[in-house]
Symmetry: C2
Subunit: 160 residues, 2 copies
DNA sequence: CGGCTATACTTGAGGTCGCAACGATCATAG
DNA sequence: CTATGATCGTTGCGACCTCAAGTATAGCCG
């Protein structure tokens, strides 16, 4: 049925075009954002992402597994990432009293400070590289469209 | 001016919301796409990407540096990626006669076959995970919006 | 020609991340 | 109380990718 060979990838379909632009834009923007974040604050984009989650979490602490799910890294990735943040003194590890399996990550005072410092320049960078390309209406449009994309491995990613 | 502290990242601005969704969606979708591609065809998403560039290139060959630029990897990344593809017999290396510095990557017959095999399932996967979320009009909208994002390090990424 | 700079590519070292396997803890049911 | 199964976390291993440095070629100018 749809096995017709297409001459170029761009000509194939708007979906593919959009997908390719999505891929390329991600590569370019995250590379630049990460470079700036690292140069100014010695943080990876993932580091920053995790710190920000903690910053806005109740009591500024979260279970490691919840961090993993919220930033879409695996549990092992979170372990190693937090190792680094702990060594830098930005995060503390706290065991849960009621459940011996879970370990919390808690933002330290230094961590709070770091987030607030980094956030300022990072917000500006995101605005420059991403946001400034769109007006208010387009931003909402884009957010709405991107919000439909799946976040879980394969199946539904609703509120459940 | 815009230094007011915001209570949650979602509340801050549509641009940030869009950016976060962009980040998360990329992580989820590429992970799934890569897993499927690897399971069915033993290819990385980057492998596939490079093979596809070659597939549509004149004479199915490209200079390594041009591959790097088109898929947004560094030159060293391309060297190692092509090493793998050469070992698999999907790509051949060819020196340029007029310029001793450049080395071409040429798609072999096996490479052509591989692309055509992988393309079928990959297109379906992209459609399922990405394209199917949007109708025709939305795809064009999305492609247009994403097309405004920068592809070069910092500055302009126009046709110059 | 000899020097100088730019470009194409490769290599060594290091960082980030996922997968799979493992240990520890909890919850449930017999 | 013990067996079973699920959940949380860590670790060994390997893949992928970047940065910085190094090699080789090309082009330009004195």
């Amino acid at each position: 049925m749809s096995s017709q060979v297409l001459t170029t990838q761009e000509a194939s379909a708007p979906a593919l075009t959009a997908w390719l632009r999505f891929l390329r834009a991600h590569a370019a923007i995250t590379r630049e954002l990460s470079a700036r974040l690292e140069a100014l604050h010695e943080l990876t984009l993932s580091d920053y992402d995790v710190l920000l989650q903690l910053y806005f979490a109740p009591e500024r602490r979260m279970r490691r597994i919840d961090i993993a799910r919220s930033v879409l890294l695996t549990a092992s990735g979170i372990t190693r990432l937090l190792d680094g943040l702990e060594r830098c003194g930005l995060v503390d590890k706290a065991r849960c009293e009621s459940d011996g399996r879970v370990a919390y990550a808690v933002l330290t005072d230094a961590g709070v400070k770091k987030v607030e410092e980094a956030r300022e320049s990072h917000l500006a960078d995101v605005e420059e590289l991403f946001g400034s390309r769109f007006d208010r209406h387009e931003r909402e449009q884009l957010a709405a469209l991107l919000g439909r994309l799946p976040l879980a491995p394969t199946s539904d990613a609703c509120s459940s």
